[in-house]
């Protein structure tokens, strides 16, 4: 075990699925507008993802901010790589970059 067990847990979560979203609430019941915005984008693109509710785990809620050096939630990870929060995911989506980015990472999206 490394000196930061919370980081270890985060590393496991981040690599446990192709697309992982640290969010407030769950994909079915988002409890924050910004988290919900990312859920909507991923759902629209038909991208399966794992939602992690930081409201249920304060260690993860604080730890994830240090882990990525990013002060807010939600945080999107694709193939273990931090992509961004709500602003960046929405901007990438609106500029048509998100689908290409996901394809580059080998993540299927639905033709819409």
């Amino acid at each position: 075990m490394s000196e930061n067990p919370v980081f270890d847990r985060i590393k496991n979560e981040v690599s446990s699925d192709d697309v992982v979203l640290f969010m407030k609430g769950t994909p079915v019941f988002p409890q924050c507008g910004f988290s919900n915005a990312v859920v909507q984008v991923l759902t629209y693109l038909g991208v399966p993802f794992k939602g992690i509710n930081v409201l249920e785990d304060d260690d993860i809620r604080q730890g994830i901010k240090e882990f990525s050096d990013w002060p807010t939630i939600p945080q999107l990870y694709v193939k273990g790589e931090f992509v961004g929060g709500c602003d960046i995911v929405r901007e990438m989506f609106e500029q048509g970059e998100l689908r290409d980015f996901l394809a580059q990472k080998g993540v299927e999206t639905e033709a819409v």
């Binding site: 990013w70 002060p71 807010t72 931090f82 709500c86 960046i88 901007e91 990438m92």
Partner: protein, 78 residues
């Protein structure tokens, strides 16, 4: 303790002197803003890096006093 638009602009310009900062108050509660920041220092940096520079300028305010800052960053067009 919320932050005012001028405080946010001042902090960003203190850390990124050439930044052109356009801030809109989304909710009038000092907690929800949208900001567009343009600076030559963003050139060649990813969006994540650009946003991290702005968050660093806010010295921990982001996610604490400041709940929401819808951020857009870009380098000036040549």
């Amino acid at each position: 303790m919320a932050m005012t638009a001028s405080e946010i602009e001042h902090l960003i310009k203190e850390a990124i002197p050439d930044a052109v900062v356009d801030i809109r108050d989304l909710a009038g509660d000092g907690d929800h803003y949208a900001a567009n920041v343009v600076s030559a220092s963003f050139k060649g940096k990813t969006r994540v890096q650009q946003h991290q520079m702005v968050y660093a300028a806010l010295k921990g305010g982001m996610g604490n006093e400041l709940h929401a800052l819808a951020l857009q960053t870009s380098a000036p067009q040549d």
